[in-house]
Amino acid sequence: MESATIKTAVAPADAALTAAGARDTKFHTRKVCVYYGEKQALFDVDLDIFSNEVTALIGPSGCGKSTYLRSLNRMNDTIDICRVTGDIILDDIDVYSREIDVVHLRARVGMVFQKPNPFPKSIYENVCYGPRIHGIASGKADLDQIVEESLIKAGLWNEVKDRLDAPGTGLSGGQQQRLCIARAIAVHPEVILMDEPCSALDPIATAKIEELIDELRENYTIVIVTHSMQQAARVSQRTAFFHLGYLVEVGETEQIFTNPVDQRTQDYITGRFG
């Protein structure tokens, strides 16, 4: 924190929170650096993510917010040249330690992607895929129940309950994204990572997803990357601003948008760059 204070303004917000002491930390990340080959994409990110809250990651394109998000459930592993250093602690286990099973990690930390990506299978198959491969459900009745619950939680049940056998790819964009959310929560994860979940959707579908995110907060910890500052302001409790691979500032959403500490945050949220 000694040198970090120069670059990031984490200190005041974190101090306030520690004082409040009410919140549980879900993810505890310290000095996270990510490299793509020779190029460093993230520099010493120290960030805590609290349980049952929505944390928004904002910043201009290429600032590393998606990279940070994807290192939380090790989706970066799929990129050969990607290297992650630093500590990413989920509850009390190090995500990048040798002991952790990445399959198990991703069952605990689900993900929703920028572009809705349902499998080219039926709606039912889409939702039950996760529980099935993890062996969560015991029998068909159990599976049916998980599918129904997940679709209800994702606010899609009423729209699709009569056509669960229809292909998931036949739904509208907004419905597809909610299907992807239903698919993610069917595995009963603890954390849901969302990488610009609304960027491919129209405003009405976006509103529905945002509503859904707010409801999901009760049971899940959510980290959302977004380009829309309004969206960050609407759905999140905490906001982290990334710039050029550095975490510039993190704090209560209200504080970030009304009274940012750092000049760059001020410039970004007022639209002077980005």
Binding site: M75, T78, V103, R106, A107, G110, F113, F119, I133
Partner: protein, 445 residues
């Protein structure tokens, strides 16, 4: 800067003013003509190319079909054969060995000679009986062996004529030409016309061609042996190359680290696709036959050699099919906690399968038409038995075409073309199947 003259060809610098704008529009109008002319020329080249290709194809098919069609018809004679017991079974023992080796040729020849009592000289009698196919006596032999009770009776059988007489009937060998140039002499022509006048000569569909294996006598030769040989060879090729090819494609595309070694492997697979097929034949000869001691001329070895040749095609097509699966599907499955093997088996393989199958069918079609490597491993042998398994000596369709094309008998010309038609039929069918599969399983994301 804004000044533009009529002969300034770059209309891109059109000035924004109204007056000069008219000039620019004029320049654009004039250049349009040139552009449209270029477009029309380009279309014409394209159409000419297509017409040329179609013409070449039509000529090919027309030649093959016109020269091959006659092989599907066969000329036959109805003979009344006296199954004389004193010739077949003089001792009356009905011993199968005796029945099998009796002189049926004499019986058939006697039947024909009976119709021409005035033919007496030795040479003429030989010419007369030469009009019948050698298969006639085998036909009688088979009848008698199957049912010895026929002995002593007179039976009517339909026997093929010799291939030369068949050609005379089909008009390939004509009367009035120099008799030294033809294998049917004037006397034979007269006898045949005589038989025709008696109404015992007829032309029927040549079933022998589709049921028999190769033979020295064109009228008795068929492609069924080669078709079965091709089937067994393709079976071995498919069973070997498909699983190995798919496994290699999946590993290289999804699991292999991208380093120098995999790069070398990748380059070599592409090189393998360009290796001349006869080299694979030599490899098969040296390794499979000489080193491992596998049987010569067998579909097993042929299939293994062709599998080596087909592998690169399947691997390359398989990798392309896997690459075409959008990365979002991989991410979705990985994000749900699917293990890499689950991602492959649940999502990638089902989605890539149509592409893989298309590649496989195209590779198999290539293998079906392959000749050179099979020559090296002895599948070019003259084989009269229809193979019953992958280790029996066999030949394949394209090699059969090669063998017949090389035969001196004139009747093999038509049979060569007919065999080509059958081979092309299989190839067209396989390619059509590939197209149907591709269309059927085409997905949009």
């Amino acid at each position: 800067m804004t000044d533009i003259t009529m002969n300034d060809s770059s209309e891109m610098n059109a000035p924004p003013t109204a007056h000069k704008g008219a000039t620019a529009a004029e320049a654009v109008r004039r250049s349009l003509k040139r552009r449209y002319a270029a477009e029309a020329r380009f279309r014409a080249y394209g159409i000419a190319a297509v017409i040329f290709a179609m013409l070449a194809l039509t000529t090919l098919f027309a030649t093959i079909i016109s020269s091959g069609m006659s092989a599907f018809r066969a000329t036959v004679i109805e003979l009344e054969v006296d199954l004389d017991a004193s010739v077949i079974d003089p001792d009356g023992t009905r011993n199968p060995q005796t029945l099998a080796t009796a002189n049926y040729r004499a019986l058939v020849f006697n039947s024909l000679r009976g119709m021409f009592p005035d033919v007496t000289s030795r040479n003429d009698r030989r010419d007369l009986t030469a009009m019948l196919s050698r298969g006639a006596s085998f036909q009688v032999q088979k009848l008698v062996v199957d049912d010895p009770s026929l002995i002593g009776s007179k039976i009517k059988i339909t026997v093929p004529v010799s291939s030369d007489v068949d050609l005379y009937e089909k008009g390939v060998i004509k009367k009035g030409t120099d008799s030294a140039d033809r294998r049917v002499n004037d006397k034979q022509m007269a006898w045949f016309d005589d038989l025709k006048a008696k109404g015992i000569v007829s032309t029927r569909f040549n079933t022998t061609f589709f049921t028999a294996a190769d033979s020295r006598e064109p009228e008795l030769a068929g492609i069924w042996g080669a078709v079965t040989g091709s089937f067994f060879t393709m079976l071995v090729t498919l069973l070997l190359s498909f699983p190995i090819g798919v496994a290699a494609a999946v590993y290289l595309e999804e699991f292999a680290p991208k380093n120098r070694i995999t790069q070398v492997i990748e380059v070599n697979i592409n090189n393998l696709a360009a290796v001349p097929s006869i080299v694979f034949g030599l490899l098969g000869l040296a390794v499979f036959i000489n080193f491992f001691g596998l049987p010569r001329s067998a579909p097993l070895v042929g299939g293994m050699v062709l599998a080596l040749m087909t592998l690169p095609t399947i691997i390359i097509a398989g990798r392309a099919a896997l690459k075409a699966v959008p990365p979002s599907i991989r991410e979705a499955a990985l994000g749900l906690g699917a293990s890499p093997v689950q991602v492959v088996s649940h999502h990638l393989l089902p989605l890539a399968m149509p592409g893989m199958l298309t590649g496989t069918i195209i590779g198999m079609a290539q293998a079906l038409g392959e000749t050179a490597p099979l020559l090296m491993i002895g599948m070019v042998a003259f084989i009269v038995d229809i193979p019953g398994g992958v280790t029996d000596p066999a030949t394949v369709l394209p090699v059969q075409v090669y063998l017949w094309a090389d035969s001196p008998e004139r009747a093999f010309v038509a049979r060569t073309s007919a065999a080509i038609m059958v081979l092309l039929g299989f190839l067209v069918f396989m390619n059509a199947l590939a197209v149907v599969l591709r269309k059927r399983f085409e997905r949009r994301w």
